[in-house]
């Protein structure tokens, strides 16, 4: 796991598969490490859903002139659902 953290120092983004290849291990082990690091607070999931991610969370958008209606007509209704997950340190 320390290797995993070290590799990330170069600032590049990597997919889980790429990390497994780079660290010469399995994807399952990488996921296990991610789960551990997330639980212990070393890495953090990037959460886009709390940011204006769709109609339901539009109560915070006071700039939506006509309320959540105009929010929805501009933005994907359920926010971006299928974008995968990102973690950062």
């Amino acid at each position: 796991m320390e290797e995993l953290i070290e590799i990330l120092r170069d600032g590049k983004s990597r997919t889980v598969e790429m990390m497994a290849i780079e660290l010469n291990t399995t994807v399952e082990k990488i996921r296990r490490d991610i789960e551990f690091l997330e639980h212990t607070g070393v890495i953090k999931k990037v959460d886009f859903q709390t940011a204006c991610g769709g109609g339901s969370s539009c109560d915070g958008c006071t700039s939506c002139g006509t309320g959540s209606k105009s929010c929805q007509s501009c933005m994907p209704k359920e926010g971006f659902q299928n974008m995968g997950t990102m973690w950062e340190i």
């Binding site: 796991m1 953290i5 590799i7 990330l8 120092r9 170069d10 600032g11 590049k12 983004s13 990597r14 997919t15 889980v16 598969e17 790429m18 290849i21 399995t26 994807v27 399952e28 082990k29 296990r32 991610i34 789960e35 551990f36 690091l37 639980h39 212990t40 607070g41 070393v42 890495i43 990037v46 959460d47 886009f48 709390t50 940011a51 204006c52 991610g53 958008c61 006071t62 700039s63 939506c64 002139g65 209606k69 105009s70 929010c71 929805q72 007509s73 501009c74 933005m75 994907p76 209704k77 359920e78 971006f80 299928n82 974008m83 995968g84 997950t85 990102m86 973690w87 950062e88 340190i89």
Partner: protein, 674 residues
């Protein structure tokens, strides 16, 4: 043991390890739910009998481990250490043993008898995973059983294991784990300082590990228990440790892996990237491939737009005959004009726009459903560094393709204020959903089949624009700093759910139609009023006077005063420009469309525009509109996110200025071509 000589068993395991199912199966109706004293955490207890003996079961909260990070974990470990439970049943998910045994590893060192249940064995079997239970049992020194809650027959083995654990008081053998811990710097010294009995129920192994991990409750108790010199020594040793939790975690995982060695037979587990992914993550080919896919998608999205344009054009043919009909039927001119010149013409424009809304929404929605958008986000993740931004900034940009306001809100995940502002400033350059409808529509009206070329040029200019903006604004907003990379889990590709997709596309098209219609009608009405003169000749109206006044300046940017007004209206919202274009050439008082074009009659608005606006001017207008500020809502959202009037104003003025500049350039390029 309870007073009535009942055995007390605690169920311990990570979430989704099947605890509840087991608990329910054991206790049936004989359970009750309450709260742990003083906490909001649910407490489930029940009873069951086997072989004539009554037993009490406590279903402990499902937690990842036994750290001090949450109430649930503290409650769980306190309960166990208190000795209230005679035996602990530790559950793990057989299909994910490498992960789910972490709880066991964190339990190691607690001196309460336990036994291990490798649950969900049915799932593991389906996945082709075989577990060597005997080997694991030998290494751990506690009963280990393979189990599957729905399978009634497995319960005999379960009860047997439980009874053996109670009878023999089997404690988890931690010698192997201990050996690994000893590799850690300072472990032996720290362990020596751990006084037995201070925190009851935990061995010095467990305590030392927790202290290294920075477990505050444990550290506090230990410091309170040991005296002055030793306390200082402890503090000194701890100060030398960096990221202790990662160090012990690695040892625990290594212990688990050794435990499972030869114990799992999972078949081959090769990591290989799927072909398309390999292409995308390629250093050189990644971006071109992604761009090509998105471009093809965009251009393809214009296809469903054409029929709707046809419909819109037909609507656009209504005003003329309808007007004549209404007048001869005795309808007051003003009503007829408003209805025909303002309302119907606006509707005609909006309907034409709809086709593009539908197409673009469908294409982007499809790309996201399939999983391509996630790859796009990955590919450009790494480009963010060139702008001075973190990888996750790529999401606000992608969101801005739909709505710049959403993009601005999306920057909430960016903690650094400077980077946030820069991201928003750059996101303004990304054409939003409204732009993807209005711009192609106008381009089609003026340039027909050349639209794809124009779109490509727009995208190129957009990239250049962003690069330049990053250079200009970057200097004062962001500075070089250490960047840690990101890990991304890309979703698997899958077939789109067509039903849901189309429902979403239709819904959004409908919403856009209503919204755009409102905007266009209001703008059209406003401009109609401004251009109203009783006599019918537009040159007497306020609008004309203002227009002629500013025209020398607007010509500089390649636009006549009319198109300039349209450009200004697009600052409110892209479709606002349509409202202007619809009325400014037909004027009021002028009854029919025909009177503006030197005698020739034109049958619909599209032709009207083509006749009145030269190609170079149209090009100028299109570029000006595309790179203008997105809309008034985006402006408000930018202020809301940046909390800075200064920066919001700077960005707005910058974009307006650059838009005009680009218009001028486009105009002169247009002159060269046409």
């Amino acid at each position: 043991m309870t007073n009535k000589n009942e055995t007390v068993m605690a169920l311990l395991g990570q979430p989704n390890s099947g605890k509840s199912t087991l608990f329910n199966a054991l206790t049936g109706m004989r359970q009750h739910v309450g709260n742990w004293p003083g906490k909001t955490v649910e407490k489930k207890e029940g009873t069951f009998s086997h072989n004539g003996r009554e037993s009490l079961v406590a279903d402990l909260p499902g937690t990842y481990s036994l750290s001090a990070n949450s109430d649930e974990e503290i409650i769980t470990r306190d309960y166990i250490a208190s000795g209230k439970a005679d035996v602990v049943c530790i559950l793990a998910d057989s299909s994910q043993l490498e992960r789910s045994l972490y709880m066991l590893a964190d339990y190691a060192g607690i001196n309460v008898p336990c036994f291990l249940v490798l649950n969900m064995s049915d799932v593991a079997e389906l996945q082709g995973k075989k577990v060597n239970v005997k080997a694991i049992e030998e290494k751990l020194g506690i009963p280990v059983v393979s189990f599957s809650a729905p399978d009634r027959k497995g319960y005999d083995v379960f009860y047997e294991a439980m009874e053996r654990a109670v009878r023999e008081k089997t404690i988890l053998d931690t010698s192997d784990l201990e050996k690994r811990y000893e590799e850690l710097e300072g472990y032996n010294d720290i362990k020596a300082l751990m006084k037995e009995g201070v925190v009851a129920g935990y061995s010095s192994t467990w305590l030392a590990a927790k202290v290294i991990e920075g477990d505050e409750p444990v550290i506090a108790k230990m410091k309170a228990a040991i005296g002055g010199d030793e306390k200082k020594k402890l503090e000194m040793l701890l100060a030398k440790i960096d990221k202790g939790v990662v160090q012990t975690g690695e040892r625990k995982f290594a212990w688990i892996d050794e435990l499972l060695e030869g114990g799992i037979d999972a078949g081959e587990n090769n990591v290989s990237l799927r072909k398309f992914d390999r292409l995308i993550t390629h250093r050189v080919w990644g971006k071109p491939v992604v761009i090509a896919v998105v471009l093809l998608g965009l251009i393809g999205s214009f296809i469903p737009a054409l029929p709707l344009m046809g419909v819109g054009m037909l609507i656009g043919m209504i005003p003329d005959p309808l007007y004549n009909g209404m007048i001869s039927a005795g309808c007051p001119m003003i009503i007829a004009t408003v209805l025909c010149d303002v309302l119907i013409r606006s509707a005609a424009f909006v309907v034409q726009m709809l086709g593009f809304v539908f197409g673009v929404t469908l294409v982007f929605g499809l790309l996201e459903e399939i999983g391509v958008m996630a790859r796009v986000s990955y590919v450009f993740d790494n480009t963010m560094g060139k702008f001075g931004l973190q990888g996750k900034s790529v999401m606000p940009f992608l969101i801005s393709f739909g709505c710049t306001m959403g993009g601005a809100a999306g920057t909430r995940v960016i903690d650094n204020w400077g980077q946030k502002v820069l991201t928003i400033a750059l996101a303004w350059a990304v054409p939003c959903g409204a732009a993807w409808a209005v711009i192609p529509m106008l381009s089609t009206i003026f340039f027909g089949a050349w639209v794809p070329v124009i779109i490509v040029v727009i995208l190129l200019v957009m990239v250049l624009h962003m690069w330049l903006t990053a250079k200009i604004f970057g200097r004062s907003l962001v500075k070089e700093e250490d960047r840690y990379g990101m890990i991304m889990e890309l979703p698997p590709y899958h077939k789109p759910k067509w039903g849901a997709l189309f429902r979403y596309v239709f819904g959004r098209t409908k919403d856009t139609f209503i919204r755009a219609l409102k905007v266009v009608v209001i703008v059209a009405l406003a401009f109609w009023l401004l251009s109203y003169t009783g006599g019918g000749d537009i040159s007497g109206s306020i609008l004309y006077k203002i227009g002629h006044f500013v025209e020398p300046v607007t010509k500089f940017f390649g636009m006549s005063w009319q198109t300039f007004m349209a450009f200004i209206a697009s600052s409110l919202g892209k479709e606002g420009a349509l409202g202007v274009l619809g009325t400014i050439y037909s004027g009021t008082g002028t009854i029919s469309v025909g009177s503006m074009v030197g005698g020739e009659t034109v049958s619909n608005i599209n032709e009207l525009l083509v006749q009145n606006i030269s190609k170079p001017e149209a090009l100028a207008l299109i570029f000006a509109m595309t790179f203008n500020m997105p809309c008034i809502v985006a402006l408000a959202a930018t202020y809301q996110e940046t909390h800075s009037v200064k920066w919001t104003a700077r960005i707005a003025l910058y974009y307006t200025g650059v838009a005009l500049l680009l218009a001028g350039i486009a105009y002169h390029v247009g002159l060269l071509i046409w």
